[in-house]
């Protein structure tokens, strides 16, 4: 194929969008609508996933120490835990800090309960708060810490806790939520593909006579196919770009409203920066590929004249 023919195909593909104005409009609308719905659910799934991550990342291992241990022993244990590859951070919580935290978390109810306790008679032990990199590894890490104690009884651990039972249920729940989100998004993606490629097929059906005429004039199949290919790609690209723009603008508004005006600091939405790349990447890729796929498949059918 000569270079001028490539240029010709690009020119022709672009012209065809205008020539078949209403048909292009129909294809574009079907792309925008299907991808918009897909995009909304994709954002939803992203946020659900993000929420699940936030909840999961709050799990931690508490390592309680014996009372009155030497500082060197404590440091030794601290380093041993911090050196585990699964561990993100180890924080030493002194008994005084522990009491303060307990006061804060119990609030009004704890006033009576904790009254009378001060530095001199603090009943709480010193402890470590261990955060892990992958929340799912928490029980593994907890057992590993226990194992240190079992192997060497001089290690000053009294107890290792991570909320057995509760944590497992939480993980089951977040995994289920994630999977449901994934299934919905995948189902919608398939539906969108089907809808879009069907619309494109119908618009090309209207042009099968055109294809037959081109063949009579001596056009090769390649020659006929290329402009359709470019037309499909352009419509797909245009449609998905428009959809992405609309979605991201709306999402930006939503983030604004929830985070700043309503002050819903508890529910932290995925930021537009994080969501933007994924959303535009997925939508534009699907849109363009479907545009190309739909038009190429349909043309191929009518080329067998």
């Amino acid at each position: 194929m000569k270079f001028r023919t490539i240029l010709r195909h690009i020119r022709e593909g672009t012209k065809n969008i205008i020539r078949n104005g209403w048909m292009s409009f129909a294809s574009l609308s079907s792309i925008v609508i299907s991808l918009f719905i897909l995009g909304v659910f994709l954002l939803l799934a992203l946020n659900v996933n993000n929420l699940a991550n936030q909840i999961e990342s709050q799990v931690e291992v508490k390592v309680y120490l014996q009372l009155g241990v030497e500082q060197s022993k404590v440091e030794e244990l601290h380093n041993a835990i911090a050196n585990m590859p699964e561990v993100r951070s180890v924080k030493f919580v002194s008994k005084a800090e522990g009491l303060e935290l307990l006061r804060v978390s119990l609030g009004e109810d704890g006033k009576d309960l904790l009254e009378g306790f001060d530095e001199t008679n603090n009943p709480l032990p010193d402890s470590f708060t261990v955060e892990v990199i992958e929340p799912q590894t928490i029980s593994f890490v907890a057992n590993k810490i226990k194992a240190i104690n079992e192997a060497d009884p001089t290690v000053p651990i009294t107890n290792v806790k991570y909320g057995q039972g509760t944590v497992e249920t939480l993980f089951k729940f977040t995994t289920a939520v994630r999977n449901i989100g994934l299934i919905i998004v995948a189902g919608l993606a398939l539906t969108a593909m089907f809808l879009i490629s069907n619309t494109i097929k119908v618009t090309i059906l209207a042009r099968r006579r055109e294809i037959a005429i081109m063949k009579l004039v001596g056009a090769t199949n390649h020659f006929i196919r290329w402009p359709f290919f470019i037309e499909g790609a352009l419509i797909g690209l245009l449609g998905s770009a428009v959809t992405t723009a609309i979605l991201l603008v709306l999402y930006q508004q939503l983030v604004q409203i929830t985070q700043f005006e309503l002050g819903l600091m508890m529910i932290k939405l995925v930021t537009i920066e994080d969501a933007g790349w994924l959303i535009s990447g997925v939508l534009i890729a699907i849109g363009t590929l479907i545009g190309i796929w739909g038009s190429t498949i349909s043309v191929r059918k009518y080329l067998k004249v």
Binding site: R4, T5, R8, I213, M214, K215, L216, V217, G218, F223
Partner: protein, 228 residues
């Protein structure tokens, strides 16, 4: 130029469209193809531009053995044959210019040459100034002129015209015939199927009559010979 040897064509439904047709059409001839509807005229022409393949027999056009042609070679043979239809078969969303230029783009002609030649041919068929009109904005006669311009723009060796005046009034038809005759004078072989008795009898050319799938008559300066 066109040579058929004992051509048989049987369609899938069992219709025998042609039953042993042998004919030689020389370069630069002008041939009328006449005969009743369904006698095999259209099949005869479709075999020439390889829309159909013969069930039996040999056919060669311009030195190509059309019957044995591989599918991907078909476009290249068609580029040497201009085809004109009763229903014009123009690309509806393309302007007159674009319809004609398309035939040149197919053979990867430089754009500059396409422009020059297309305008030249449109002027030749009498459509100067109408190059930006869509087929729907043109009259039947004008649309057929676009069809003819498209057929001749690449200087084909043969023009196949399937009832080119079938949809046109007598006056417009004569305009089209004058144009075809001029193209013939310039050296192009023309095979034209027609039901137009007036044209065949007044503009005398070789007449091949096909009836029931066989050549019933072949006269050098023949008459239409059928009652309407």
């Amino acid at each position: 130029m066109i040579e058929m040897q004992d051509i048989w064509k049987t369609y899938a439904n069992g219709t025998h469209a042609l039953r042993g047709v042998s004919v030689i059409i020389e370069k630069n001839e002008f041939v009328y193809l006449v005969g009743p509807s369904g006698a095999g005229k259209s099949t005869f022409m479709k075999l020439i531009y390889r829309e159909e393949v013969p069930t039996k027999g040999q056919i060669s056009v311009n030195g190509f053995n059309i019957g044995k042609l591989k599918p991907r070679k078909i476009p290249f043979v068609r580029r040497n044959i201009g085809v004109i239809f009763q229903d014009f078969r123009l690309l509806p969303k393309f302007t007159a210019y674009e319809n004609v230029a398309f035939a040149m783009e197919v053979i990867e002609t430089p754009r500059r040459l396409i422009k020059k030649r297309t305008m030249e041919v449109l002027e030749l068929v009498g459509l100067k100034g109408k190059h930006n009109s869509l087929p729907a904005q043109l009259s039947g006669g004008e649309q057929q002129r676009v069809g003819i311009a498209r057929a001749i723009v690449n200087n084909p060796a043969v023009i196949i015209a399937d009832e080119p005046t079938g949809n046109l009034d007598p006056e417009t038809s004569w305009g089209i015939m004058n144009l075809l005759e001029e193209i013939n004078f310039r050296g192009t072989t023309i095979v034209m199927a027609t039901h137009n008795r007036d044209i065949v009898n007044k503009l005398r050319k070789r007449v091949i009559a096909i009836e029931d799938g066989i050549i019933a008559r072949d006269e050098a300066r023949g008459e239409y010979g059928y009652e309407i």
